[in-house]
Amino acid sequence: MTTINPDNKFKVRERLDKGVNFLLAISIFIAFATLLALIFDILNDGWKWFDWQFINSYPSRKPEISGIKAAFFGTLWVMSITAILSIPIGVCTALYLEMFAEETRFNRFIKLNISNLAGVPSIIYGIIGMAIFVEFFQMGRVILAGSLTMTLLILPIIIIASQESIKQVPSYYLDAALALGSTKWQAVIMVILPQAIPGIVSGFILAMSRAIGESAPMIAISALVYLTFLPSGPLDRFTVMPIQIYNWISQPQDDFRGLAAAGIILLLIMLLSLNSFAIFLRDYFQRRN
């Protein structure tokens, strides 16, 4: 039988502890390095293409004169209509579920249903939007069909964020308003909702930034189109930035890859500014409370 010197055992454990610490730090470093590599890769490929000519031109077969204008305005159109549709529906649903819905089996089912809808893959929303809006309602592959599909896609996110935000308003706000003789409706609309708005807004911005980057459902709605005009109304055909980027990625020539990277730069600038605005709002109001 060998005896183990307890001092040695402690040393081994000491080393193991440091080793584990090191390994954990390395895996975080990998995530960080990937992010840096991704940004470097995109800037490296796309920077020389990223200029005013690129932003202000329509797509073309010649990469030198090709640009993202049609897709940029398509994204603006789709997102504006999506915002107009999704905010009222999302906030009303959240208010009903958090403030007015009784604990019936059906209302529990609605809540469960919303959390399941949030997990449905986006491409499914795309083909369902195509089946319902494009084919069943005969809209065609137009902006409105895209916006309606996008609304269905981001509604669960907006509802859940709004519910969280409404839940965080302390219950004595409601009690105080009721004690002063207001009805429940007045208390909810005039007291609870204003308190919850910052959280709702930041949830909404995050949902919009997810929608701006979504490609798959938009491909199902709009397919690949070659547009050299700006859409002038919700019933025009459209393309959005992620579709245009995907289109350029799938071209074999290197120059189009450069255009794709330039498109990604523009997309990331938009998303980063939206996200940091949402995070700023959240932190600002957290500190205020």
Binding site: R13, E14, L16, D17, V20, N21, L23, A25, S27, I28, A31, F32, T34, L35, A37, L38, D41, I89, C92, T93, L95, Y96, F100, I110, N113, N116, L117, G119, V120, P121, S122, I123, I124, Y125, I127, A131, I132, E135, R141, L152, L155, I159, T183, K184, L206, G213, A216, I219, A220, A223, I245, Y246, I249, A260, A261, I264, L267, L271, N275, I279
Partner: protein, 310 residues
């Protein structure tokens, strides 16, 4: 108008307002019904539309067939190659996410001081916010060339569009999700368990891996299940980087086609309404929907289990 009349009319108005809210809340239920009914309806049409050789696709052949050639003759609709492609990419992605996401979660909850957390959390949030088409570009133009160089060193042949590159990048994509859910589970492990472990003379890594992680296991499992579901439903990375050849293979160096990538491939071509190609995407979509739905329900059940324990 008397006071009672006033309150009466106000009550009526509020009742109507709440009713309106309720009917708006029903939109989400209608959405679910629409998703299910259109998927099932078009899948039914898929099985009753004639193939080019005049026959029909049999449900058995669809679910267990190993040849997927919907676009050229002889047509064959066995979905297994697509499922295998999806699962191959998913397994690679989840392996990456277990290593990166779990160690990030453990580091954040057990090791990292507050100021380091404040650096790491935003990085994860940025990674979570990057659109998938960007990850696809990154996989194709940065990871794939590196992998091809590596495979040449080992004398392996690797195709530009391959499952490995897509899987690795998808793993990075789901890492933030896995680490956030796991971290929540780890943090909710009561402090007294850690204190007891330290009091017994355990080191930090022993406490972390033998006490905290086992206590949070169902939450960690939930994060992986939800991560798998996310990976199965992910579209753009596999469409861009993994190719569009429905090979029935488990070799990560080969080109494959995932279920989602097939749907995109058909959608790009604007398949005419009612054609066999058009209904095919709904049949594939239904399989995809059922897979992700069951994983999501299972994952949420796991999450609720650990939150009940403490």
């Amino acid at each position: 108008m008397s006071y009672t009349e006033y309150t009466k009319s106000r009550r009526l108005k509020e009742k109507i307002a709440i009713l309106i809210l309720k009917s708006i809340a029903l939109i989400s239920v209608i959405t679910t019904i629409a998703i299910l009914s259109f998927l099932i309806l078009e899948t039914f049409n898929f099985f009753t539309t004639e193939m080019e050789d005049g026959g029909f696709v049999k449900p058995w052949d669809f679910l267990f067939g190993t040849k997927w050639t919907p676009l050229f003759k002889p047509q064959s609709f066995g979905i297994l190659p697509l499922v295998a492609g999806t699962l191959l990419v998913t397994v690679i992605a989840v392996t990456v996410a277990i290593i990166l996401g779990l160690s990030t979660a453990i580091f954040l909850s057990e090791y990292a001081p507050e100021n380091l957390r404040r650096v790491i959390k935003p990085i994860l949030e940025i990674l979570a916010g990057i659109p998938t088409v960007v990850y696809g570009y990154f996989a194709l133009t940065c990871i794939t060339p590196i992998l091809i160089d590596f495979s040449e060193v080992f004398g392996l042949s690797m195709i530009i569009f391959n499952a490995l590159s897509a899987g690795l990048v998808m793993g990075i994509m789901i890492t933030p999700m896995v680490s956030t859910i796991s971290e929540d589970a780890l943090i909710s492990v009561p402090q007294h368990l850690r204190d007891a472990s330290y009091a017994m003379g355990a080191k930090k890594f022993q406490t972390a891996f033998r006490v905290v992680v086992p206590a949070a296991l169902s939450g960690i499992a939930a994060s992986l299940v939800l991560g798998i579901s996310r990976a199965i439903g992910e579209t753009m990375i596999v469409t861009i980087a993994a190719g569009s050849t429905p090979n029935f293979t488990l070799n990560p160096l080969e080109s494959i086609q995932a279920m989602t990538a097939f749907v995109v491939q058909i959608s790009l071509g604007e398949a005419p309404h009612g054609s066999l190609e058009y209904t095919t995407i709904f049949a594939v979509g239904l399989v995809l929907f059922l897979m992700t739905l069951s994983l999501n329900i299972f994952g949420k059940w796991l999450v609720n289990r650990y939150s009940e324990n403490y």
